[in-house]
C-alpha cells in the first residue's frame, strides 16, 4: 500500500487517459490562504486555529500510520507537505499515468466542520479561491471541489450560489461525519443549491461529528477508525434515503468518496426490507432504497475492497452497476492506488474503461 514511486513504467502507462476522482491538494504553507482571508480571520486562524469536534489542538484523534497519512516519497523537496507541489503531483500522478482530468478534494485546512460557523465559511471560501489560483489555472486537467461550511447550510448555499456556473468546480464537497445525519432538513439548502447549480454532491470520508465514532462508543485504534468509515457512510446514505432527500431533489446526484463500495449492495437490500416493513413511518419515501442507490449514488474506488477470490469483486461491480464506479487514486495518501494496476483486468476492458474514465466523464460533464 505504501508504494515507493518508480520511474514511469512505460509508454502504456502514460497513455492511460484516466480520470482520478480523489486527489488531495494541500497548501504549501498556511500563508497561501492569507490573500483570500480578511485580516480578522487570518489573525483568528493564528490565534485559535481550526477547532473541529475533537480534542487535539494539532493532528487527529487517532495518529495516522504515516506522517499526515501520506506516501513517504510524496514529500516535495521544497519542504512543503505532500500534495502541496503541483510539479511533484505532475511527476508522480498527472504525467506519470496520463491523467485526463482529476477532481481535487482538499481536506484540511478547509474550514469544513469548524465549530465557529463564520470562520468555517471564511475558510471554505478561501480554499475555493486558492484551488482555482494555485491548481486549476496552472493545470487545467484539474477540477476544484466547491468546499462549503456544511454545518451552516445557509452559508453553504451562499458559497455554492457564488460559484454556480463556474465549470472549474466539479462538485460540492462535504465530509462524511457531519454533526447530524446528513438527510436532516437543516442540510437541505445545500442539496437545493447543488441541484440548482447542476453540481453533484461529493461526500468524502472523515470530518468529526463530535459523536462517538461507532454507535457502540469510541474505538481504540486507527485501524478501527479506518474500518468504521464505511459505517458512517452507511448511516449517511440511510439518512439521505429515509429522510426523502432524493424524492425532494430529483436531480441530485451523490458521490461517495474514499468509503469503499462493496458494502453498498448489502445496505440497499437491508434498507429495502426495512422500508417495506415501516412504510407507514416514512411515507415520503416512495422509491425502493436499492433503486435510489442504483440511480442516484456514485462511488470512488480507493480504498477498494480486495476479496480473496477475484470473482467476488465482479459480483459486487455487477450489483452496484459498472456505470456508477469512479476510479480514484487518493494521491498522495499512504494507501494510494496505482492507476495502471488498481482495477483488476478480470473485470474486462469495457468495465475498466468505464471505471477509469467513462463514468467520470459522464457524471462531471467532461466532453
Amino acid at each position: 500500500m505504501n508504494v515507493e514511486h518508480r520511474e514511469r513504467t512505460g509508454e502504456g502507462a502514460a497513455r492511460l487517459g484516466f480520470a482520478d476522482c480523489d486527489i488531495h491538494p494541500k497548501v504549501r504553507r498556511l500563508e497561501d490562504l492569507r490573500p483570500y482571508l480578511s485580516e480578522r480571520w487570518w489573525r483568528h486562524y493564528l490565534t485559535y486555529g481550526p477547532r473541529v469536534r475533537h480534542g487535539f489542538a494539532k493532528g487527529t484523534p487517532y495518529p495516522k500510520a504515516a506522517p499526515l497519512a501520506c506516501r513517504r516519497d510524496a514529500w516535495p523537496a521544497d519542504g512543503g507537505e505532500p500534495g502541496s507541489s503541483l510539479e511533484l503531483m505532475r511527476e508522480q500522478l498527472i504525467d506519470a499515468y496520463g491523467l485526463e482530468f482529476g477532481v481535487l478534494n482538499p481536506l484540511s485546512p478547509t474550514g469544513q466542520g469548524y465549530q465557529d460557523a463564520d470562520f468555517s465559511a471564511a475558510m471554505a471560501s478561501a480554499t475555493n479561491d486558492w484551488q482555482l489560483d494555485h491548481w486549476v489555472t496552472p493545470e487545467p486537467r484539474l477540477r476544484a471541489s466547491l468546499v462549503v461550511p456544511y454545518e451552516d447550510a445557509e452559508a453553504a448555499k451562499a458559497e455554492i450560489e457564488k460559484r454556480a456556473g463556474d465549470r472549474r468546480f466539479a462538485h460540492v464537497l462535504l465530509l462524511s461525519r457531519t454533526a447530524e445525519p446528513l438527510g436532516k432538513r437543516r442540510y437541505w439548502p445545500i442539496f437545493a443549491a447543488a441541484e440548482a447549480a447542476g453540481l453533484p454532491v461529493g461526500i468524502h470520508v472523515f470530518g468529526y461529528s463530535g459523536w462517538a465514532m461507532t454507535n457502540g462508543g469510541w474505538p481504540s485504534f486507527y485501524i478501527e477508525e479506518m474500518t468504521e468509515h464505511s459505517a458512517s457512510t452507511q448511516a449517511l446514505v440511510t439518512s439521505l434515503i429515509f429522510e426523502g432527500v432524493f424524492e425532494r431533489f430529483p436531480a441530485l446526484k451523490v458521490v461517495l468518496i474514499e468509503a469503499g463500495f462493496a458494502w453498498l449492495p448489502a445496505l440497499g437490500w437491508r434498507l429495502d426490507r426495512i422500508w417495506a416493513r415501516m412504510r407507514d413511518e416514512i411515507p415520503h419515501v416512495t422509491c425502493p432504497p436499492s433503486q435510489t442507490i442504483r440511480e442516484r449514488l456514485w462511488v470512488t474506488t480507493q480504498p477498494m475492497e480486495e476479496p480473496e477470490r477475484k470473482k467476488d469483486l465482479i459480483d459486487i461491480v455487477e450489483w452496484i452497476g459498472a456505470d456508477r464506479i469512479l476510479f480514484s487514486s487518493d494521491y498522495p495518501h499512504w494507501d494510494f492506488d496505482n492507476p495502471a494496476l488498481a482495477i483488476p483486468p478480470s473485470l474486462g476492458p469495457a468495465v475498466r474503461e468505464k471505471i477509469m474514465r467513462g463514468n467520470a466523464r459522464a457524471l462531471y460533464g467532461i466532453a
Binding site: 462517538a212 457502540g216 469510541w218 485504534f221 440511510t238 437490500w269 437491508r270
Partner: protein, 359 residues
C-alpha cells in the same frame, strides 16, 4: 421448509412490563419499583407496537406478543417442529443508568426466564442477561446461572457504552469462556450514544438500519483488541444482525489489517480467519433479495458453511407464514444451518444432545 429437529437460536419472550418481574425482585427493589412508579423498561430499539416488534397474528388482545409460553408453543415451536429454542430476552436492563438497579433487574429477569419459560417447556434454553454497566455484577450474574445448563449463552447488546473489545470487559469473557458460554451480541442499544456515528436520526427505520453497522464496529473492536487471541475458546454470536454485510466488511477489514497491523501486533491472523473461527451469525434477518443466485454467491463470499445459525426471531415480524431460510441453499447447508452449526457453537446444546443419545 421442514424445521423438524431445528435449533432456533433467537426467540424473544417478553415481560410486557415490569409487573411479571416483581416476584423475582428482592424486597428493596420490589418496593422501589412500586414507590417510584417504574412500570416499563421497554426499549425504543423495539417499540412495542411498531410493525417489526411483533407480527400482527402473533399479538395478543393487548397488542403484545410472546408474553406466555402457551403462545410461544402454538405460534412457533409446535407448527415448525423446532427441537430447541434459545430465549433472548430484550427487556431494557442495559439501558438503566443506576448500575445497582441494572444488576437487580438482570437477576430478576434471569430468574423469571428460568421459572416461567425454561421450567415450562423442555425445548427452551436461554441466554444470561448481564448488566454491562458493571463488570463485576455481570460476572456475578454469569456465575449465578452458569450451573444451570439450560443457560447456554451470555447476552449483550450491539451498542453499549464502550466497544466490546475494551479490556474492562475481559473478566466477562474469561467467565464465559470458562463456562463454555458463547457471547451473544443482539441488536439493540443502551443509548449511551446516538445510533449513528453522525448523530440521532429521525426515524425508527434508521434506528433499525443502524444495527448492522453496530455489529461491524463491535467485530472490529473485539478483533483489534485481541479478545480472541486472549480467549481462544470464546465464540461470539451476532444475533439479528443481518448477514449480507459480512463479506464486504471482512474484505475491508482485512485490507486495513494488511496496511495497519503494526498498530495491533497481537492480531497475528487476517480478520476474516478470526471471524470464520470465532464468530457466528443468526440468519433472521438475512437481508438479501429473494434470488437464489444472489444468495448462493453471498454464501460463497462468506466462505465458511459453519458460520450461520437458524433463527426465527419470534415474535419480530421478519417474515409471513412459515419461517424460512434464504432461497437456494443446498440440503447440506440447510442441515448445518438448522442444527449442526448450533451444536458446534453452543457446547451446552451438544452436551444435551450427547446425553439424549446416551439415554
Amino acid at each position: 421448509m421442514n424445521l423438524e429437529a431445528a435449533i432456533d437460536c433467537d426467540i424473544h419472550p417478553t415481560t410486557g412490563g415490569v409487573g411479571p418481574l416483581l416476584p423475582y425482585l428482592d424486597d428493596y427493589w420490589h418496593e422501589t419499583v412500586l414507590a417510584r412508579g417504574i412500570d416499563s423498561l421497554d426499549s425504543i430499539s423495539y417499540p412495542p407496537y411498531a410493525p417489526l416488534t411483533a407480527r400482527p397474528d402473533w399479538r395478543n388482545a393487548d397488542g403484545r406478543a410472546a408474553t406466555d409460553v402457551g403462545r410461544l408453543r402454538s405460534d412457533i415451536l409446535d407448527p415448525t417442529g423446532t427441537a430447541i429454542a434459545i430465549c433472548n430476552c430484550l427487556f431494557g436492563v442495559q439501558l438503566v443508568f443506576d448500575e445497582y438497579m441494572a444488576a437487580a433487574f438482570a437477576r430478576a429477569l434471569n430468574a423469571w426466564i428460568a421459572a416461567e419459560w425454561l421450567d415450562r417447556d423442555p425445548r427452551l434454553r436461554a441466554s444470561i442477561v448481564v448488566p454491562m454497566q458493571n463488570v463485576e455484577a455481570a460476572v456475578e450474574e454469569i456465575e449465578r446461572w452458569a450451573p444451570d445448563r439450560r443457560f447456554v449463552q451470555v447476552l449483550v447488546l450491539a451498542m453499549g457504552e464502550v466497544p466490546l473489545g475494551r479490556r474492562s470487559y475481559w473478566p466477562i469473557y474469561e467467565t464465559a469462556e470458562r463456562h463454555k458460554l458463547p457471547i451473544g451480541v443482539h441488536a439493540g442499544s443502551s443509548y449511551r450514544h446516538p445510533v449513528t456515528s453522525i448523530g440521532w436520526p429521525s426515524y425508527y427505520a434508521e434506528d433499525y438500519a443502524a444495527q448492522a453497522p453496530a455489529f461491524q464496529g463491535q467485530l472490529a473492536s473485539l478483533i483489534t483488541a485481541g479478545v480472541f487471541a486472549r480467549f481462544p475458546g470464546l465464540r461470539v454470536v451476532l444475533i439479528e444482525s443481518g448477514v449480507t454485510w459480512l463479506p464486504a466488511f471482512m474484505w475491508r477489514f482485512a485490507k486495513f489489517w494488511r496496511g495497519l497491523r503494526t498498530e495491533v501486533p497481537w492480531v497475528d491472523r487476517s480478520p476474516p480467519e478470526i471471524i470464520r473461527e470465532h464468530v457466528r451469525l443468526t440468519v433472521q434477518p438475512f437481508d438479501a433479495p429473494h434470488d437464489p443466485a444472489i444468495v448462493c454467491r453471498l454464501i460463497e463470499q462468506i466462505g465458511c458453511d459453519e458460520i450461520l445459525l437458524y433463527a426465527s426471531d419470534y415474535p419480530h415480524w421478519q417474515f409471513d407464514g412459515a419461517p424460512g431460510l434464504p432461497p437456494g441453499l443446498t440440503d447440506g447447508q440447510m442441515r448445518k444451518i438448522c442444527r449442526d452449526n448450533a451444536l458446534s457453537t453452543y457446547p451446552r446444546l451438544q452436551e444435551a444432545a450427547d446425553e439424549c443419545r446416551a439415554s
